[in-house]
């Protein structure tokens, strides 16, 4: 059985004034139809860049190597024209910042209809009725009124729903959500996540959810991929990772989640130190200098991902010895 998305040895480099920076290093993962994969990592861990690379959305100075197959077809080296046929139709993306993701000069409905008219060749009228339907599905009140509204007339949560509607219009097989709820407050966040969950159930769309909120992942994703400094450090089923994290970074992240039971007076456990700069990476594990378990090989050799359980892999020297 071949996976819907099969990403092998993806590497993303950026040319900068200070030489090449490697933002994503040797990333491999599979996405099956209808599943939900969470990608977790802190800022700069390469989670967004790897997804942008998959859709050919890297900045001009970025370059991706490796193989990304969608239904067995390599999409990393497609021509722009071929890619445009896939993007928005089969593979869609919801961006982090819904506030600026819609052009201020076009009415909401027109912007949404563009995608349908382009990919499905629908007439304006047909596209409009489909858009209204979709706005209804993402629970936007009074869709007919909103259709004619401009983006700045909607609230943040509403705009994020519009962005999701835009991505879901052509019923894509893969929906990549890049921190869809970071710009929103918690109640709206819960609504958006419930919406995504509902969409996943009803349409069978596979979702890749990029976030740094482990709570969000627990609620929505079957599998989790933890990234650190451009590398995958651990991947497995959500339940396995939450109950028995194998990589010290994952364990640290889970410890840092505030609980309601905890004593508010005590400090929240944190992971000491800063993630390493991507420009000057020496050999060894990127997490070594922040790791409480670091020992001899950690600073000399980059650990490889190894199986640590059923469908559960992690990259740590401690696990091999």
């Amino acid at each position: 059985m071949s996976a819907l998305i099969d990403c092998e040895h993806l590497e993303v480099r950026f040319r900068t004034e200070h030489g090449d920076v490697c933002a994503v290093n040797d990333l491999s993962f599979q996405l099956e139809a209808g599943e939900c994969l969470g990608i977790v990592g802190e800022s700069g861990s390469g989670k967004s860049q790897s997804m942008l690379a998959m859709l050919g959305l890297l900045a001009d100075n970025g370059h991706a190597t490796g193989i990304v197959r969608y239904r067995g077809r390599d999409i990393l080296n497609l021509s722009r024209r071929e890619l445009d046929k896939l993007r928005g139709d089969r593979l869609a993306m919801v961006f982090q910042d819904a506030l600026s993701g819609l052009t201020p000069t076009m009415r909401i409905g027109e912007q949404l209809a563009e995608s349908l008219m382009r990919h499905r060749g629908l007439s304006r009228a047909a596209a409009k009725s489909r858009v209204l339907e979709m706005l209804e599905i993402v629970k936007i009140p009074a869709p007919a009124t909103r259709y004619r509204a401009y983006p700045f007339e909607l609230s943040g949560g509403m705009r994020q729903r519009v962005m999701i509607a835009m991505a879901m219009l052509c019923q894509p097989e893969v929906l990549i959500c890049d921190e869809p709820t970071t710009a929103l407050d918690v109640t709206v966040q819960a609504q958006i996540l419930r919406l995504l969950d509902g969409l996943k159930r009803h349409t069978g769309t596979a979702i890749i959810l990029i976030t740094h909120d482990l709570g969000v992942v627990a609620g929505l994703c079957n599998r989790v991929l933890i990234m650190y400094a451009g590398r995958a450090v651990e991947m497995g089923n959500t339940a396995d990772i939450y109950s028995a994290p194998q990589h010290p970074y994952t364990a640290g992240l889970l410890r840092s989640i505030p609980t309601l039971k905890g004593d508010p007076a005590t400090d929240l456990p944190t992971i000491p130190g800063q993630p390493p700069s991507l420009e000057q990476r020496g050999p060894g594990c990127a997490f070594a200098e922040r790791c409480e378990h670091a020992f001899d090989p950690c600073t000399r050799q980059t650990p490889q991902l190894a199986s640590v359980g059923t469908a559960h892999i992690a990259a740590c020297h401690r696990l091999n010895s």
Binding site: L57, D84, A92, T105, Y150, M163
Partner: protein, 303 residues
């Protein structure tokens, strides 16, 4: 002025959308702000008046622009015989010539600006959007043209192609698009990195559609302001081309040409320069006030 209830609700836009009224675009909001600007609105009225009279007066005035009268050479302004602005050295009525000249000056101002606008916006947006080496090459080409003195360029055109009024359009338009393309390119670079462009790419829009529907509408704000400043600039350029004899030719006339002719008789017949110069100055003021008003109305800080 007391605030209306809607204005107390901050943006007011949310309130109106909630009330189910037709929603206002950014342009509609800018138009509303513009209408509150008295100087700008006054200028719009005055300018419209000048434009309308420039069209109508020559049609209904008892004197034509070429009607010479030997009895009334250099007659000072008077209400006798419909010579309100006096007559020129050939005994032609000055009023009808001033308004007829206004037609030509305004037309040249508008048409040359259209030429500059269409070339400048297309070129600048393309350079900024494509970026990289193409952008560098296109903008260096603009720099080279920029370094040519305007007057030198126009004299060159006129000597090669001969004097005619269309050449004046082409010459001014061909020079003035340079600044426009720089403005548009700069704006395009800013807009290009906005997230909505990225999301347009992500839904599979083609590059040309993104340029035409997502980028250009969003760079038009500063362009509109610049246009209102470009029109008077072009009228002035036409005036000085006519003043030095390279622009509009007799028996046609324009404000520049009238001022040029009047300047020769400043001592004996000051009205010859007074009327066209006053109208030219009023027109300049109006365009500048309108430009000011538009800039305030479109100011992104107010959004």
């Amino acid at each position: 002025m007391s605030a209306k209830p809607g204005e107390l609700l901050g943006s007011g836009a949310l309130a109106s959308a909630a009330a189910g009224q037709a929603s206002r675009s950014l342009w509609a909001q800018a138009a509303r702000r513009f209408r509150r600007n008295r100087a700008a609105m006054g200028s719009v009225y005055i300018l419209s008046l000048i434009a309308v009279t420039a069209v109508l007066v020559p049609m209904f005035w008892p004197h034509g622009i070429e009607d010479a009268s030997w009895e009334k050479i250099l007659a000072p302004p008077s209400f006798d015989d419909w010579h309100w602005f006096g007559t020129d050295a050939n005994g032609r009525d000055l009023l009808v010539r001033v308004f007829y000249g206004g037609r030509i000056s305004l037309t040249i101002g508008l048409l040359t600006t259209m030429v500059a606008l269409s070339i400048g916006v297309t070129y600048g947006a393309l350079a900024g959007f494509v970026g990289g080496r193409t952008d560098g090459f296109m903008m260096r080409f603009v720099d080279v043209l920029y370094s040519l003195p305007l007057l030198f360029f126009i004299i060159l055109l006129v000597t090669v192609f001969g004097r005619n009024i269309y050449l004046v359009f082409v010459a001014i338009g061909a020079v003035e698009w340079l600044t426009m393309s720089r403005i548009v390119r700069g704006q395009t670079l800013t807009v290009k990195s906005k997230e909505f462009v990225e999301s347009a790419v992500a839904i599979g829009m083609s590059r040309s559609a993104i340029l035409a529907r997502y980028i250009i509408p969003n760079v038009l704000g500063p362009v509109v302001v610049y246009v209102t400043l470009l029109i008077p600039t072009n009228i002035v350029i036409e005036s000085y081309l006519s003043f030095i004899g390279l622009g509009v030719q007799e028996p046609l006339t324009s404000w520049g040409l009238l001022i040029s002719q009047g300047s020769g008789q400043l001592d004996s017949a000051p009205w010859l320069i007074f009327f066209p110069a006053t109208l030219l100055a009023i027109t300049m003021f109006c365009f500048n006030f309108i430009g000011d008003g538009l800039r305030d109305a479109l100011d992104p800080r107010d959004r």
